[in-house]
């Protein structure tokens, strides 16, 4: 499924930066998340140990990924869960459609799933005459308004109370306008309760899949996920193949990291662990459980020893919360399913550098994300790597469409920079020249962009090299 053909990042950014309400909403929300995370991880040393543990667990899983997936499949199958594999999002969509058609089902209730966004599942099902209702409150709100999520954890964070009240009033029949949060919740609860009751099939994502026992772990606060995976007679779970972990014992530390990083909670309201469909004698739970394992570029990412760290991600969203860029442009500007720092490293690898490589430039490499990532993905390092791949066309390159940014101007500019900085006499001459003419440089190209928001710096008449020489400081 092609995401966003004709995506214009520059335009998106411009629009977002001018949107005062958007910036206000995000500034408030992200500030809140940052504080919450500080409060839930107060001890620096303990947090470090926990993050090291999380990183080790994910690295271990990735180092055995195919074996663990095979083990997961074997355990799940033995327990009665039907496992399907999908190389592409199109295939994954077909799996879902087939299951729905096998049950003559036209109504699906969905728990929150970023993989299902990757699949573009709702649109696909709609084209096939199937109603897919989002039941997570945030997803429910944006579905009503025909929008995409703007954050991995809180999809409607770009909206404030007024905007949500307006959406409910306009899009849900017989709903008065109210900004009272309790009332808005009650409206959502009432509307969705009927959907749960009537649902023929329920769909969910997977936070962690345990290979040791064939168990799917899901976390949530609202109870909609449990509703989707308990009430309807059929449950479909969709997961990215990197979500598998080796042992049940790996779950508690990752859980602590996930809930702490995502929402600043010690634990979510529910931690739901599913190992089989309804057994003989049991009175409820789905009679059929399906697990769709999606690749969509992940297996290629695994092949690169450095970039595979991208797959350590547990989708907590904390990198978004701490990113000064994300806070100012919001999630939609990124144009792809995954926004923020994780999106900047993931999307170019999955979609290719031509379409999504520009995202890797939208970072000042401040490292705020790396500082908080619960599984210690070195995001700034991977951004540099992607930038390098964009300009390099060599057999050692592994990212799709590497070298697509290669151009004469940049190559010459950096070669020139290299020459000036490896030949000290040239460097000295250059400095002397800039000391004289520096302030007279016409504002073209990069300087023009600099001057949009700043006065340019003044070149010193005498460089440090000269001052030092004059002071008689030793040279060696």
């Amino acid at each position: 499924m092609a995401n966003n053909i004709g995506f214009d990042f520059t335009q998106n950014v411009s629009r977002a930066l001018k949107d005062k309400q958007l910036r206000k909403n995000f500034k408030f929300a992200m500030g809140n998340f940052i504080l919450k995370r500080q409060q839930i991880f107060p001890d620096k040393n303990e947090t470090e140990r926990l993050r090291e543990s999380g990183k080790a667990i994910k690295k271990r899983a990735l180092s055995k990924l195919p074996h663990l997936l095979e083990q997961l499949e074997e355990k799940c199958t033995r327990n009665g869960i039907q496992v399907h594999w999908a190389e592409t999002t199109a295939e994954a969509n077909q799996h879902v459609l087939r299951i729905m058609q096998a049950h003559s089902a036209t109504r699906l209730v969905k728990g929150k799933s970023m993989v299902s966004e990757e699949m573009g599942l709702n649109e696909f099902l709609d084209q096939n005459g199937i109603e897919a209702t989002e039941t997570d409150l945030g997803e429910f709100i944006i579905q009503l308004n025909n929008e995409k999520p703007s954050h991995i954890i809180v999809p409607a964070i770009h909206k404030n109370k007024k905007q949500i009240a307006q959406i409910f009033h306009q899009k849900i029949p017989a709903t008065p306008y109210t900004e009272d949060v309790e009332a808005l919740n009650a409206i959502a609860r009432k509307t969705l309760r009927q959907k749960f009751f009537d649902a023929q099939i329920g769909l969910s994502g997977v936070n962690m899949a345990v290979a040791e026992t064939g168990t799917l772990c899901l976390v949530e606060n609202e109870g909609n996920g449990r509703m989707c995976t308990t009430v309807p007679p059929v449950h479909i779970a969709v997961m990215g193949l990197e979500k598998v972990v080796e042992k049940l014992a790996d779950v508690p530390p990752l859980l602590r990291l996930l809930t702490g990083s995502a929402t600043g909670q010690l634990i979510t309201t529910y931690v739901n662990m599913i190992t089989s469909p309804r057994k003989n004698g049991e009175k409820d739970g789905p009679k059929e459980v399906h697990l769709i394992i999606l690749d969509n570029g992940r297996s290629e990412i695994l092949a690169d020893p450095e970039l595979r760290q991208t797959l350590q991600c547990i989708r907590c969203g904390t990198c978004l919360n701490h990113c000064p860029v994300y806070t100012r442009i919001g999630g939609h500007a990124y144009g792809f399913v995954y926004p923020g720092p994780i999106g900047k490293i993931l999307n170019p690898q999955v979609e290719g550098l031509k379409k999504a490589g520009i995202l890797a430039t939208a970072s000042s490499l401040c490292e705020a994300c790396a500082e908080v990532c619960p599984v210690k993905i070195p995001i700034p390092q991977l951004l540099r790597r992607l930038r390098n791949e964009a300009y390099t066309r060599e057999p050692s390159c592994t990212v799709k469409e590497c070298g697509c940014q290669q151009n004469l101007i940049d190559s010459l500019a950096w070669k020139g920079w290299e020459v000036i900085n490896t030949r000290s006499r040239l460097n000295a001459i250059g400095r002397k020249i800039m000391g004289v003419v520096g302030s007279k440089i016409p504002p073209l190209g990069p300087l023009k962009l600099w001057n949009r928001y700043r006065i340019p710096p003044k070149f010193a008449r005498k460089s440090l090299h000269q001052l030092v020489k004059e002071q008689g400081v030793e040279n060696e």
Binding site: V13, R384, W414, N421, R454, V468
Partner: protein, 250 residues
């Protein structure tokens, strides 16, 4: 826990290209603060740039060539003091990464191990004592990202400011937020960078300080340029230069 060498007799000084071009006085101030403690400072005249601009832009080959050039110039086993968190971070943490597959890796590591940022050198190694001879002034401090997150020297920098008894340090509300420089980021994503520096300037305005201090010249040219553009009469200054002024060393 970081480990620091004993007070040495001799150090190298790496000026950094931005200081060289735009803030040479800051570079001299840093050098003088070290000499003041009776230490011999060597400044290899052929030094140029740590290579970070090319590295951050994805031009690794070019960055490596420039890096290797610097490494050759600082051959003796003296600490290398750097008046910039980002250049120090580049040479300390990123050089080993850049040269990971290179035959020069050992030499690179020996170089990187000797890198010390100026604030941490003054505080942790020299245990410098400062006497403030200046008039009362209100200042605020910006934590450069790499000084904060790569080199961990912010507390050292601030402790130097706090030693000056006539200086009132008012902290920024979002002290640790990036100023938006990011090297070529400022011109590759000019509007996002502009939004970030505008917020930083607003923060500074709120403190009522008359000086903005930082340990990194990338941040300084960015923030000072923006303050001037917005007609905010606050002077942006490198910490070393400010300290040198306050202790009235001329």
């Amino acid at each position: 826990m970081k480990e620091y060498p004993e007070k040495p007799d001799t150090v190298y000084y790496f000026g950094t290209c931005l200081i060289d071009m735009f803030y040479p006085q800051a570079g001299m101030a840093g050098l003088n603060l070290i000499r003041r403690e009776g230490i011999r400072v060597i400044f290899p005249q052929e030094q140029t740039c740590c290579g970070q601009p090319a590295y951050n832009s994805g031009f690794f080959k070019e960055a490596k060539k420039v890096a290797l050039q610097q490494i050759r110039l600082f051959a003796e086993d003296y600490p290398i003091v750097v008046p910039s968190g980002s250049c120090a971070g580049m040479m300390k943490h990123h050089y080993p990464y850049l040269f990971a597959e290179d035959s020069n890796l050992d030499a690179v590591k020996r170089f990187s191990n000797r890198i010390v940022e100026l604030s941490e050198f003054l505080v942790q190694v020299l245990k410098i004592k400062l006497e403030d001879r200046g008039r009362p002034v209100k200042v605020t401090w910006h934590s450069s990202c790499h000084a904060l997150r790569e080199m961990g020297v912010i507390e050292d920098s601030k402790s130097l400011i706090r030693q000056l008894k006539n200086v009132e340090l008012v902290e920024l509300l979002n002290e640790n937020e990036c100023c938006g420089f990011g090297g070529t980021f400022a011109v590759k994503q000019p509007d996002i960078s502009g939004a970030m520096v505008a917020d930083k300037v607003e923060d500074i305005r709120q403190t009522g300080a008359s000086r903005l201090l930082a340990g990194d010249c990338g941040c300084l040219i960015n923030i000072s340029g923006a303050m001037e553009y917005q007609n905010l009469p606050v002077k942006g200054q490198h910490l070393a230069e400010f300290i040198w002024e306050r202790i009235d060393g001329k």
